[in-house]
Amino acid sequence: MINILVTIGVISGLSTILALLLTIADVYIADYGEKKIIINGEKELIVDGGNTLLSSLVGSSIFIPSACGGKGSCGYCKCKINNGAGPVLATELSYLTDEDQKNNVRLSCQVKVKEDMEIEIPEELFNVKQFRAIVEEAQDLTDKIKFLRFKIIDGQEISFKAGQYVQLIAPAYPGNKEEVYRAYSIASSTKHQDYIDLIIGYVEGGILTTYVHKHLSKGDEVSFNGPYGDFYLQNTDAEMVMVAVGTGMAPIRSILYEMLDKGINRRAVYFFGARSKDDLFMLDEMKMLEENLYDFKFIPTLSRPQEEDDWEGAKGRVTDAIAEYLDEAPNREAYLCGSAPMIDSTVKSLLTKGFSEDRIFYDKFE
């Protein structure tokens, strides 16, 4: 009996001493004091040193995109650090190109704030905030696609560009163990800064789509952060061709409302692909936009129209509709939104119609 007690005593005594040593070391040795981070040469942040740059910035409500949560395995949290980062670490090397290294680009989740720093962050990221909202509206557009309106309830306003996306957070729910983020394009007009609309399809087994379709209903609280993305309406007056399939409707709808609300007078045509008539949605809104926009035409195309659909419009995939209805003309801009195969094939068929590659903008849904 005494043997057992002595054993336990010795082991726990030893562990306690070591743990104590480490704790003391953590408090005294790993204490770097307060450090100053200067962002883009103007904004100043005071943070406690010793943490990674990523977590220090998140602590100050600056959200740099990061998919892996700071483990150094996604390479998204790149950030230009002009001063105070120290040499490049071996853990960063596989994510930094030669050009990155020349331009002082580093992974913010690996670099620790040990001295005063000067960093550069794209201005847009200052706009990225975390929002709390409630589901104000939730309606089924088709049997697989849901429309949701999130009313922001924490007093903030969201300012974004038409076409950008937010990251919606699914909390743990039965069948999902941990918080998960997924990106969804904003479907509402930039005029409304107190709510956002999302159009979310149901994917069998998808963590977030299951959350949205099976667990979320009117009045529930949600969190999202954003806006992100470099897919948005360009400030030119070129004629526009928009192409979307399914939930790709979302950013295009936002762009159309932007044109309506700001009185942007550009010629525009919108090819929208679906399987059958049952998969089409928001036809009333599109009709309203056709009537009220300067020169806008909505061309829905069905890849598998049913007999009872009695469909007289365009048939086939969006690429078929483009081949049939689009003339060759120079100086046009294209906005595409949908799955990767759809984007790739559409880009190809647009190139044959005289588009130049740098004026085709797209948002690939992964």
Binding site: N3, V6, T7, V10, I11, L14, S15, L18, A19, L21, L22, A25, D26, I29, A30, Y32, G86, P87, L89, A90, T91, K114
Partner: protein, 196 residues
């Protein structure tokens, strides 16, 4: 066995009883980090340092804590705990006060916690009932031996970069074969001194 001159132990643990080439301990980081001379030199130095430190601490813990309480059978767990804590502590100190050193070998330190050569040296030290001085010599020697082996390997692997190696053998496969050949070569030293 415990009356061997510490200097002999030092030399022997570098050449004849090399941790990698005659005991095959610490293989995982040996294979993973031996692609380039620079990084393997960093890791080798870190291993040498930690080996020396942990051997000293584990010697003291074993002889002044475990033996008096008859708890020798717990040495596996206790050694692992002290190694982990020591590595953590060293990492913090190096990160804070020796930034240049930290950038060259800091990221390897956590890797060393799970290097079996470290635990192996502490256990051999007990099995062969070394005195304190002998244990220190053994720790330093084993570390240097490990450093020598990984440096040699990374040199060979750098030379090998342009060689046509069959696809299935590339990476760890050819490394293991070369390790075997190096081990055979090191047998040549075995006549000099013997400690195991």
């Amino acid at each position: 066995m415990s009356d061997i001159n510490p200097f002999v132990i030092l030399i022997a643990s570098i050449f004849t009883s090399n941790m990698i080439l005659s005991n095959f301990l610490g293989m995982c980081s040996f294979i993973a980090v031996s692609k380039e001379i620079k990084t393997s030199l960093g890791l080798g130095q870190a291993v040498t340092f930690v080996l020396t430190g942990t051997t000293i601490i584990n010697y003291l813990v074993y002889h002044y804590l475990l033996v008096p309480f008859n708890l020798e059978y717990l040495r596996f767990i206790v050694f692992i705990i002290t190694i982990a804590a020591f590595v953590q502590l060293v990492e913090m100190v190096v990160e804070r006060y020796l930034p240049t050193l930290y950038y060259s070998l800091g990221i390897f330190l956590p890797l060393i916690t799970v290097n079996c050569a470290i635990l192996g040296v502490s256990l051999f030290m007990v099995i062969r009932s070394y005195s304190f001085i002998q244990a220190v010599a053994f720790g330093i020697g084993s570390g240097l031996g490990w450093l020598l082996a990984i440096l040699a390997m990374s040199g060979i692997r750098q030379k090998m970069k342009n060689s046509p190696i069959p696809k299935g053998l590339q990476g760890p496969g050819i490394t293991l074969i070369i390790t075997g050949l190096m081990a055979l070569a090191f047998i040549g030293f075995s006549g000099i001194v013997r400690i195991q």
